[in-house]
């Protein structure tokens, strides 16, 4: 199906060619750029609506209930009702809030989210901007969200918001470290930061087979990075109401919600790109493969949300600094050795050596853990 495979790419060529007939080339390029941006934003909005519906439906099923089923077939139009509700809510700014910061934060939290979409390869040739520093760009841009959320927490002049804001800063900065370290393993294998090259590097074997441990570390820290359960402390409902967005209502609140869902989707999409081979896959069109993989990972996110309780802030930080960061460093070192030693020896030795190395790391972790537990018990008995 070559027609379906390159549907969107051909479409964009065709439109560009059509415009170039009666416009100067720069104008056609400009219009194409704007069109791409518009497409991405519309795509983001549709995705959030779909994800919102899907998540409520899936979690409903986890909990032995139907989920939304009143508006439209299977409740698929629920988001329309929700959106209307959000738009018509009163827009409240608390009397003591820092007005500028308070109103700036919801915008600042959404913008980086849309910026990240620019470098995601949705299919073969379907990338808005193939930056050669793609992954670095993602890390840099997503850090901006932290500032925006801190602004929201600070500007609200609410103690719950402040606590939530502080938690966000601590959590997101801590979990960026293992996230980047685990992704470095992939970048080491491809030798490029560009997401397009990373996907193309997985044409023979997806990197999850070479770095299962790296994938796991990336996945865990990515969940924490987007504040999803079980790491949803910044907006822990049972503790600090809604955390940093306690004081927001109406559209501003919707902005936070939008950013949150899109971020969760983006994290799933990046995981699919880095470790699952992105749009690579047999028979189906590439973009279908990409979405299948991204949604499969997103399903796991929903699954975790429907199952697990929340960690406490000290346990969360402990997990990052005492466990994930050392593990990611060891993983990086070992994977580097493996990649160097098996260089030029073909695919099979690489896969085999990687799996053996991963197994060894896991075994070492288990042994160290058991040893530490025994030591602790001995100390307790002695005390």
């Amino acid at each position: 199906m070559p027609f379906l495979n390159d549907l969107f790419v051909n479409l964009s060529y065709w439109i560009h060619g059509f415009l170039a007939r009666f416009l100067p080339l720069w104008a056609a390029d400009l219009i194409m750029m704007l069109l791409t941006i518009a497409c991405l934003i519309v795509f983001a909005l549709i995705t959030i609506m779909f994800i919102n519906w899907l998540e409520r439906k899936v979690i409903g099923r986890f909990q032995d209930r139907y989920g939304p089923n009143r508006v439209g077939p299977l409740g698929i139009l629920q988001f329309v009702a929700d959106a209307i509700k959000m738009f018509t809510k009163e827009d409240i700014t608390p009397a003591n809030a820092d007005r500028v910061i308070f109103n700036l934060a919801p915008v600042m939290v959404v913008v980086p989210t849309f910026l990240i979409l620019a470098v995601l390869p949705f299919g073969r040739g379907m990338v808005a901007a193939d930056l050669n520093i793609g992954f670095l760009y993602i890390v840099a841009i997503s850090s901006l969200t932290t500032i925006a959320i801190l602004l929201a927490g600070w500007g609200s002049r609410n103690k719950y918001s402040l606590l939530g804001g502080m938690r966000v800063v601590a959590q997101m900065i801590s979990y960026e470290v293992p996230m980047v370290l685990s992704a470095l393993g992939v970048i080491m294998l491809t030798g490029s930061l560009s997401l397009v090259s990373i996907v193309e590097g997985q044409s023979r074997v997806p990197f999850i087979l070479l770095q299962p441990l790296g994938f796991l570390i990336y996945f865990i820290s990515a969940i924490a990075e987007v504040n999803r359960a079980p790491f949803d402390l910044p907006e822990a409902e049972s503790e600090i109401i809604a955390g940093y967005h306690t004081e927001y209502s109406g559209m501003k609140y919707a902005m936070f919600l939008l950013a949150e869902y899109i971020n969760a989707f983006i994290v799933a999409a990046i995981a699919a790109t880095l470790f699952l081979g992105g749009w690579q896959g047999p028979s189906l069109p590439p973009y279908v493969w990409f979405f299948l993989k991204a949604y499969a990972i997103y399903f796991v996110l929903m699954w975790l949300r429907g199952t697990l309780p929340r960690l406490r802030i000290d346990q969360l930080m402990g997990l990052a600094w005492k466990f994930l960061v050392p593990l990611a460093l060891v993983n990086l070192l070992v994977m580097g050795l493996v990649a160097t030693l098996t260089q030029g020896k073909g695919l099979f030795p690489l896969v085999l050596a990687s799996l053996v190395a991963n197994g060894l790391i896991v075994a070492a972790v288990v042994i160290i853990y058991a040893f530490a537990m025994r030591r602790r018990r001995q100390v307790e008995v002695a005390a």
């Binding site: 979690i59 986890f62 909990q63 032995d64 209930r65 103690k159 719950y160 606590l163 359960a229 079980p230 949803d232 402390l233 822990a236 409902e237 049972s238 503790e239 600090i240 109401i241 949300r305 429907g306 199952t307 697990l308 309780p309 929340r310 960690l311 406490r312 802030i313 000290d314 346990q315």
Partner: protein, 372 residues
């Protein structure tokens, strides 16, 4: 090593948790002094749901008080009914037919299962589960509420017990339904445990949190699962047996580490023991009358009486003073959670904000009963 003196001046912040807060289980307020995320001080503030229950009780006749007891601890109306009705029976020395005793035990033990399931569900909600355990618990509760509805006509405000028995005999079809519910309960509890007991996050959140040593628990006169999780073997069904509990064979689970996790385990085990009692009661229940005839205008003799039962949340007692008229002269409720709640500041100090809600959830309060 040289100690570095920090010049950074820090302050504690005061946080008002409640009366409107998702995890205070109603309108309960805690004034928390925080150092960062650590609790320095905590002061519980009660009374937002005060409805003058005790004064109303003096205005009502004895019979009129029964529906008011439904609204104390609205999760377990049956056991509230029982405590009050038994107090009046003790005062007026009314004999209860045997079948009625069995029906009462069945209802009260079903209530215990409902309460513990909901308590654990609510605890997990407080720990940050996205409603899944809560909804599993509520699903099982629905089946038991169906039984209550069959017997009493109401699902939550049952108003089922009367002096000298129960209002109606069990309807036809009740016993088969009861048997099928009881038969399904062990599987439900197992499923619950599979989901939660060995959950790593659940363990690190609950173990070692909110430790209540036995002497402190006794000192604050805590009762119920809270006390038993502190390792004190004190179950009124055993130590001061009432109704026909001496005929049943059941164990009293005790905690060993005195923490939130133990309270969870004690509740799970108590549900299993309740199932045991139910199975025996179903086997033994006789035919016969379910109530005795009382005069239309009910006037107990002068005197006072205190009767206590092991309600799902602890010792629920009614103290009644009668002056021989149709209304009680004094109507005092000893509600378990109000007294259990006084130990909260003791449990919370030094823990994190997130632990406060877990500890509060593990005490298992219902504000209808705390504030009365």
């Amino acid at each position: 090593m040289q100690t570095v003196e920090t010049r950074l001046r820090t302050e504690t912040i005061t946080l008002n948790m409640g009366p409107q807060h998702p995890s205070t289980h109603g309108v309960f307020r805690m004034i928390i002094t925080l150092d960062g995320e650590t609790i320095v001080d905590l002061e519980p503030v009660m009374g937002y749901l005060h409805r003058c229950q005790e004064k109303i009780g003096e205005r009502n006749t004895y019979l009129q008080n029964i529906p008011y007891t439904d609204r104390l601890d609205y999760i377990c109306s049956m056991s509230n009914n029982l405590a009050y009705v038994m107090a009046v029976e003790k005062l007026a020395q009314i004999e209860v037919p045997e079948r009625a005793e069995y029906i009462r035990i069945i209802m009260v033990e079903l209530t215990r299962i409902v309460n513990h399931a909901v308590a654990i569900g609510a605890l997990l909600n407080d720990l940050g589960c996205f409603f899944t355990p809560m909804l599993y618990a509520l699903e099982e509760r629905e089946r038991i509420l169906d039984l209550f509805e069959m017997a009493s006509g109401s699902r939550m405000m049952c108003n089922y017990m009367r002096f000298g028995g129960v209002r109606y005999d069990l309807p036809p079809g009740f016993m088969p339904e009861l048997k099928s519910v009881v038969a399904a309960l062990p599987a439900f509890i197992d499923e619950f445990e599979r989901l939660l007991t060995d959950n790593e996050i659940m363990r690190i959140r609950c173990q070692g949190v909110g430790i209540l040593p036995p002497d402190v628990a006794v000192g604050y006169s805590c009762t119920g699962p809270l006390l038993r999780a502190s390792g004190v073997d004190y179950d009124i069904r055993k130590v001061d047996s009432y109704s026909i509990y001496d005929r049943f064979d059941f164990d009293v689970p005790l905690g060993t580490n005195y923490d939130v996790y133990d309270r969870y385990l004690v509740r799970i085990e108590e549900m299993r023991q309740s199932v045991r009692i139910l199975e025996q009661a179903i086997e033994q229940i006789p035919e016969g009358e379910v109530s005795v005839k009382l005069p239309r205008v009910f006037k107990p003799p002068e005197g006072d009486v205190y009767h206590r039962i092991e309600s799902p949340k602890g010792e629920l007692g009614f103290y009644l003073v009668s002056d021989g008229s149709t209304n009680p002269y004094r109507y005092k409720i000893r509600s378990p959670t109000f007294i259990n709640l006084t130990v909260l500041p003791e449990l919370c100090k030094g823990h994190k904000v997130a632990d406060v809600v877990a500890i509060l959830g593990s005490i298992d309060i219902v504000l209808g009963e705390v504030d009365r």
